[in-house]
Amino acid sequence: MAGFFAMGGYGAFVWTGWGLTLVFVLLLWLHTETRLAKLQSQLQSQLQSQAENGKTDAKNLPEA
């Protein structure tokens, strides 16, 4: 196991490179999905409030 993490003496380079790549992927993925989910709920509540005020048809698609 220690040999696996040591990567033949190149561990610091290999793990930093892989770590950065996977962290970038994970953070961008989470950031985008979270923002999209937040926006969808904002859109829904906006449509709902306008429908309650009679300004928008409630059936108006709440998609983002």
Binding site: Y10, G17, L28, W29, L36, Q46, A64
Partner: protein, 240 residues
């Protein structure tokens, strides 16, 4: 086909069908690719385990180049046909593309330090890749640097199209000039010069990262379209 997809409502409907398959391919590709690249594939006879950086460096470089080409094409469609969805596509491509260009530079430096004995040299390949990264940053700065996004759309699109000229320089720099960077091993005229034991992890990681990139572009396009819709609804409410 472009006319068909250029309708935002139709695009949103199509995007709904593609999101889950892309999520699954990205997650599976990255998990299997990480296992293949870090544990299952052999070490190189000269570079040892440092070669494992290839499985993140090379797919990042392919994605940085292909995403810039997509950015240039979307900008061309925006300038020529003035279609707002092309501008939204370009805005959605740029952040992920910039990220992959950055990763290419960083993982390249991490690979170069133990193998070349230096983190950086000002040679054709490395310098043109850095220029590509600056084009991405320039695009993002111009596209997002105005209070009203539509004001930045045209200058950003022109900059993106100018940057396309840099793509053949990045690709062929290793053939045109003497460089520390090795010449192409996959996309070259004499066929692939790499063993299949290393090709599988490389292609698996590429498939995972490519699916992730497409997913990010689609989700960011939905986000930008949703933000525009929210702004329109707020304007309507204020006006009435």
């Amino acid at each position: 086909m472009f006319d068909y997809l250029a309708n935002p409502t139709r695009f949103m409907r199509l995007a709904d069908y593609t999101v889950w398959p892309l999520r699954l391919i990205a997650a599976a590709g990255l998990l299997i690719g990480s296992w293949l690249g870090l544990a299952s594939s052999p070490a190189d006879y000269q570079q040892g385990d440092a070669v494992r950086l290839m499985y993140v460096h090379v797919p990042s470089a392919w994605l940085a180049l292909s995403s810039y080409l997509m950015l240039g094409l979307a900008s061309l469609f925006f300038i020529v046909w003035r279609h707002p969805l092309a501008d939204i596509a370009a805005r959605a491509i740029a952040p992920a593309g910039a990220g992959f260009a950055f990763l290419t530079l960083v993982t390249g430096a991490l690979w170069g330090a133990p193998i070349w004995g230096t983190w950086w040299v000002w040679d054709g390949r490395l310098t043109s890749m850095l220029v590509l990264f600056f084009f991405f940053i320039g695009y993002l700065a111009l596209a997002n640097g105005f209070d009203r996004p539509e004001r930045g759309a045209r200058p950003a699109a022109i900059l993106a199209m100018v940057g396309v000229l840099n793509l053949p320089i990045v690709k062929f720099s290793v053939d045109w000039w003497n460089t520390l960077h090795q010449p192409a091993s996959i996309l070259r005229s004499g066929g692939m010069a790499i063993d299949s034991a290393m090709l599988w992890p490389l292609f698996t990681m590429f498939a995972g990262l490519q699916a992730f990139f497409l997913l990010m572009v689609i989700q960011r396009m939905r986000l930008l379209l949703g933000q525009a819709r929210l702004a329109r609804l707020a304007d309507q409410q204020e006006a009435s």
